[in-house]
């Protein structure tokens, strides 16, 4: 099927790649069907695009590329909701807030997106607020870690 995207024009996608976020993202609960599309070869950035609304697309990134010691535990509830059986099926992304320059851009480590790539379920989870998981973590380390 063909979908409109926020930055990449019209794109042909395979329906089996569609991810279901049953609760949407926080504040945007009405959008539940997304797809991951690569944005750039040189940077670890991906577009999480709504398949129903071209305007709804988030730039997301691997949090580990920016903070190497980024780890958290998933609750029983999250494991159940996402039907996670194997750790290897899980991908974690963080929402990027892009500003005019990469230096000013930030990545949200407080509320990562956890995706079960096997079952195609995703959820934005909220970590216990702590200094280790900032809502606006600066992206300035991008260039060094992108390679």
């Amino acid at each position: 099927m063909k979908i409109a995207t926020k930055f990449l024009g019209e794109i042909e996608i395979v329906e089996k790649d569609i991810l279901t976020f049953e609760h949407g993202l926080l504040g945007l609960e009405e959008h539940k069907k997304f797809i991951l599309l690569p944005i750039s070869e040189e940077h670890p950035l991906v577009l999480l695009q709504s398949v129903e609304n071209g305007e709804i697309g988030f730039v997301v990134a691997y949090p580990f590329a920016f903070k190497k010691d980024y780890t958290f535990d998933l609750s029983e509830e999250d494991l159940e909701q996402l039907q996670i059986e194997n750790e290897e099926d899980v991908l974690t992304y963080a929402v990027v807030t892009m500003k005019e320059t990469l230096q000013d851009s930030t990545i949200n480590l407080l509320a990562p997106l956890v995706i079960n790539m096997e079952k195609k379920y995703g959820k934005q989870i909220v970590l216990q607020d702590s200094k280790a998981f900032p809502l606006r973590f600066p992206m300035q380390t991008l260039e060094g870690s992108a390679k």
Partner: protein, 72 residues
């Protein structure tokens, strides 16, 4: 909304497993103790509101950023 009055060291039960206790009242500030199973997530409401706002801000990214990437 259910409204209950409580004094210091008194508590309320939410369901069978969640206890919320008033630990201290200092002027405008109230210190709460929350005893809940690990599966129950407890967050300050502002945290949720801040994340909602951040998601919306992230959504307003303009395609200009793609040009920025290419320049690098």
């Amino acid at each position: 909304m259910l409204v209950l009055s409580r004094k210091k060291d008194e508590s309320i039960m939410v369901g069978d497993h969640i206890e919320i206790k008033i630990l201290a009242v200092e002027g405008e500030q109230i210190k709460l103790g929350i005893v809940a199973p690990k599966t129950v997530k407890v967050h300050r409401s502002e945290v949720f509101e801040a994340i909602q706002a951040q998601n919306k801000e992230a959504l307003s990214t303009s395609p200009i950023f793609l040009e920025q990437l290419k320049k690098k």
